[in-house]
């Protein structure tokens, strides 16, 4: 296929910042209503009648990290098969109903949560609701779609291995998480994908889709009564409780390792990082502000300035806070020609050390705050985005008043906070680095 799409400048700003309100006006646009249905299911709603569509998003707590050992990829495969036949509808019948009525139904498994969403024109609401109920309560897992999806997954396992960025991230996760489920290949391996049976898929649905782990959000042309009706129709027949399951707290390796994977490519790709901070930690925003200055802030960050702007060593270098339920990390990625990757890595260590020693400046803190408080709002430009936000606030248990509280918490950050957190959080000697390519001057360090 000829690809002549545009080249984006690809800044990729930090994904860590959550909702913020720049001014008072947006508060009206983001007025969250908590809705409880007659059958006792609760969901959050923002009405918005700009366009005659609605988005319903939901999640079940518990994601791919719960896949049994040897069955990695199970949650992912379920997510690909729920809309491939359910109830009396074959795969073809189900897909035809979705496509002919332009109902956009998606499922996906993340590390900690299994998510889904449906977006449709209001005129197709009933059909969308019926199809979603069928998908969640009576998926068929017929042999044809199961084998088809299995072959697609096996192919994607092999194709992933072609990508240096993927290989670097895999090796890095193995090094930092070791035997913890987060260190496993959660999207599956050839052998785990081959071992998954229809019985496994059905068991997953029976054990994991339940009301006690359910979180719901809706945005768009829909009111409270409408959401209550949808929730009862889709979710009320699910079991009250999910099977007990718990991912243990992750112990993150003290680090300092350098893992080199040899690959015949002109540019080395490196993933680096160490232990970070969890989402509900009181210093989370302090860490987020420091991360913005170090490598989260697109082209304006210290790393981008030193590595990209001053020396032309990379097109993209960035860091982010990874916040899982059972682990917090700070990690980043850079790609530089084999002959100069050592220089990029040295600069990263140098900048890491500078932050640990001196924190950030008053001006940098001010800029980080104004970006963090102001930017998020401009991202909330579709019902799907807003629904995703409402879901995240609930999954992370930040409270329904979170949107109004968040800015004050960010504004309250002081340089003193920054120094305290930077000194303990950033430890250049602990950086675990994974490099894929033919890196020159980067010896492996076990």
């Amino acid at each position: 296929m000829i690809k002549r799409g545009p080249l984006m400048r690809g800044v990729g700003l930090a994904a860590v910042a959550a909702a913020a309100l720049l001014f008072t006006a947006p508060a009206n646009a983001l007025k969250i209503k908590e809705v409880t249905s007659p059958k006792g299911i609760t969901g959050w709603l923002i009405e918005d009648r700009t366009v005659p569509i609605f988005t319903l998003s939901f999640a079940f707590r518990g994601g791919s990290a719960l896949d049994p050992q040897g069955k990695e990829g199970l949650a992912d495969m379920v997510s690909s098969l729920l809309d491939e036949g359910a109830g009396d509808l074959s795969s073809k019948a189900f897909q035809s109903k979705l496509e002919n009525n332009s109902i956009d139904m998606r499922f996906g498994s993340g590390t900690d949560n299994f998510r889904g969403s449906v977006r449709a024109l209001v005129e197709h609401r009933d059909m969308a609701v019926d199809l979603l109920r069928l998908a969640l309560t009576r998926p068929r897992f017929d042999a044809e779609p199961v084998e088809r999806v299995r072959s697609q997954y096996l192919s994607s396992v092999r194709r992933r291995a072609e990508r240096p960025g993927y290989t670097a991230r895999r090796a890095w996760r193995r090094a930092v998480f070791k035997d913890h489920p987060y260190g496993r290949e959660m999207s599956g391996t050839e052998s785990s994908i081959k071992s998954i049976t229809a019985a496994d898929l059905k068991e997953f649905v029976a054990k994991r889709f339940a009301r006690d782990v359910l979180v719901v959000a809706a945005v768009g042309d829909i009111d409270a009564a409408g959401l209550a009706d949808i929730m009862d129709r889709v979710f009320a027949d699910l079991p009250a409780q999910a099977a007990p399951a718990r991912v243990p707290e992750a112990e993150i390796d003290g680090g300092g390792k350098v893992v080199v994977t040899q690959r015949d490519i002109p540019q080395s790709v490196a993933v680096f990082g160490h232990r970070g901070i969890k989402r509900k930690h009181p210093d989370f925003y302090v860490a987020a502000a420091i991360n913005y200055v170090l490598g989260g802030g697109g082209l304006t960050s210290r790393l981008a300035t030193e590595i990209r702007e001053k020396r032309g060593l990379a097109y993209s270098v960035r860091t982010r806070l990874l916040t899982y339920r059972r682990a917090g990390l700070i990690a980043g990625r850079v790609a530089t020609a084999n002959s100069r990757i050592a220089e990029s890595l040295a600069l990263i260590r140098q900048q890491w050390a500078a932050i640990a020693k001196d924190g950030i400046t008053a001006e940098e803190l001010r800029d980080a705050k104004s970006y963090m408080t102001g930017s998020f709002f401009t991202r909330l430009n579709s019902t799907r985005r807003v629904a995703r936000l409402l879901l995240s606030i609930q999954l992370q248990e930040l409270g329904i008043d979170y949107i109004s509280k968040r800015n004050r918490m960010i504004e309250a950050i002081t340089l003193e906070d920054v120094r305290r957190v930077a000194g303990t959080l950033f430890r250049p000697e602990d950086l675990t680095i994974s490099v894929v390519g033919r890196p020159e001057g980067v010896p492996a360090k076990p």
């Binding site: 296929m1 799409g5 545009p6 006006a25 569509i53 496509e99 540019q267 800029d367 401009t378």
Partner: protein
């Protein structure tokens, strides 16, 4: 492009099948210096987006200087007479906004999204760099290195992207779409700041640009700001784009194969040289957009049903058709065979589907369903702020008018099965095609490849 056209409907009123074609209801005016300004109102949130499109892209790169349009895009962030390098993005971020830019074969675009009361700030800054770009040579050198690292990331590290680059060069015998947007490495090596500044002076003039403001704003608010900041910039010489550039009549089917020890899963693709809206082939383009849905878009399309589900030959299969280009375009097929199936078998099955299409055409029911999907997508597109300006920008930089965008739903509704068959017979001809194969290295070569690599 199909998706771009969906986006074109982003600001449309409620979809009513019989209504006249009010797609965007954009309001426009033109400044005395020739800058065309388009305003699309969307009052959902107090946010505005500014997008400035220049009618110049990689297909306008001077001969021997591929990558220049894209390099200039990078340099546009390196300061003006009154702002320092990278200050543009820093200021936008400090005001809680986001900014970015892109280069495509036909256009170069710069855009920012901010709270509505910061609109004046970003209009002032964007106008400033249209007129007053000043790049320190000490900044230009490292930025060229950045572009080269970008090329390594996007192309040199990825066999599939290398094949795509070769496919474009094979499909377009003469038209400059054969040049990669990022540029050929040996030509990137020779680019200079002087090249970029000459390109800037020639193309970055108000009469060669389109300003699109979308969001919580009205024309009455935009007009004085546009006059104040963009108005004083002098008109430049008129830009004549790609005069007399066209593909010669295609003569031979072409076939290219890339083998690499980094490829684990084979990929098959077929491109047919196809007409675009920029060439004035509106009727054919409308028909081919409907055909693209019927043939290769989604799990109920003909190809997916036949090759993936029924014959179990493919893991994936589909088609892509992008009509919104100034020059010639492609109607493309792509797919991956299942294990145990050869790319030749996959190819034969796609060809059988194409033969069936050319013999029997499409049914009225298929046409009606495809149109319904295309038109429903329009309502979803209105859900996002960003897609409106993109669609207007694409249309106005690819030889189309706002009226073309506005009339799109009516034109799609008017497409007939007979028109689709006629367009397909015109396009799906062997001599218009390039077939591209991405394959793993042969076993015998794999050992040699490993030794070569190991010796580095």
């Amino acid at each position: 492009m199909f998706t771009a056209m969906l986006a074109a409907l982003a600001a449309a009123g409620p979809l009513s099948p019989d209504a006249g074609a009010a797609v965007f209801n954009p309001k426009t005016f033109t400044l005395e210096n020739g800058l065309k300004v388009v305003v699309i109102e969307n009052h959902r949130m107090p946010v505005v987006r500014q997008a400035l499109y220049y009618r110049v892209g990689s297909a306008d790169d001077p001969r021997g200087k591929s990558g220049l349009a894209h390099y200039l895009e990078h340099l546009m962030f390196k300061g003006t007479r009154t702002t320092k390098p990278n200050e543009f993005s820093k200021i936008v971020a400090r005001h809680g906004g986001r900014d970015n830019a892109f280069t495509s074969p036909d256009a170069t675009g710069y855009h920012q999204t901010v709270a509505k009361d910061r609109l004046e700030l970003i209009m002032r800054m964007e106008a400033d760099r249209m007129a007053n770009l000043v790049v320190d040579p000490m900044e230009a050198g490292p930025e060229l290195q950045v572009v080269m690292e970008e090329r390594r990331s996007r192309v040199d590290n990825r066999p599939s992207a290398q094949l795509d680059e070769q496919l474009a060069a094979a499909l377009f015998v003469n038209y400059p779409y054969r040049i990669p947007v990022i540029g050929w490495q040996h030509e990137l090596d020779t680019l200079t700041l002087a090249d970029a500044m000459a390109f800037y002076r020639k193309y970055y003039v108000p009469n060669n640009a389109i300003l699109v403001i979308t969001g919580d704003v009205t024309l009455d608010e935009v007009k004085p700001l546009a006059e104040k900041y963009y108005g004083p910039i002098p008109r430049g010489p008129e830009v004549v784009r790609r005069a007399n550039m066209a593909e010669p009549p295609p003569r031979v089917a072409r076939r290219i194969t890339l083998r690499s020890n980094r490829v684990r899963e084979p990929r098959w693709g077929r491109d047919y040289l196809a007409p675009s809206r920029g060439q004035g082939k509106h009727r054919e383009a409308d028909a081919l957009e409907v055909l693209d849905i019927i043939l290769g878009t989604g799990a109920t399309s003909r190809l997916y049903r036949a090759l993936v589900i029924e014959k179990k030959l493919a893991l994936s299969i589909g088609s892509v058709y992008d009509a919104d280009l100034l020059g010639p375009t492609a109607f493309s097929f792509y797919g991956r065979p299942r294990r145990g199936v050869t790319v030749a078998q996959l190819e034969a099955a796609v060809e059988a589907e194409i033969a069936k299409l050319l013999k029997h055409g499409v049914s009225d029911a298929e046409v009606a369903a495809a149109k319904k999907r295309l038109l429903a997508g329009a309502v979803f597109a209105r859900d996002s702020l960003r897609r409106g300006s993109g669609a207007i920008g694409t249309a106005l930089t690819s030889g189309q008018t706002i009226a073309d965008v506005e009339n799109w739903p009516d034109k799609i509704k008017a497409v007939t099965a007979a028109q689709i068959l006629a367009a397909a017979r015109e396009v799906f001809r062997e001599e218009r095609s390039v077939t591209g194969l991405l394959l793993p290295e042969k076993k015998a070569e794999r050992g040699a490849g490993a030794r070569r690599g190991g010796g580095k």
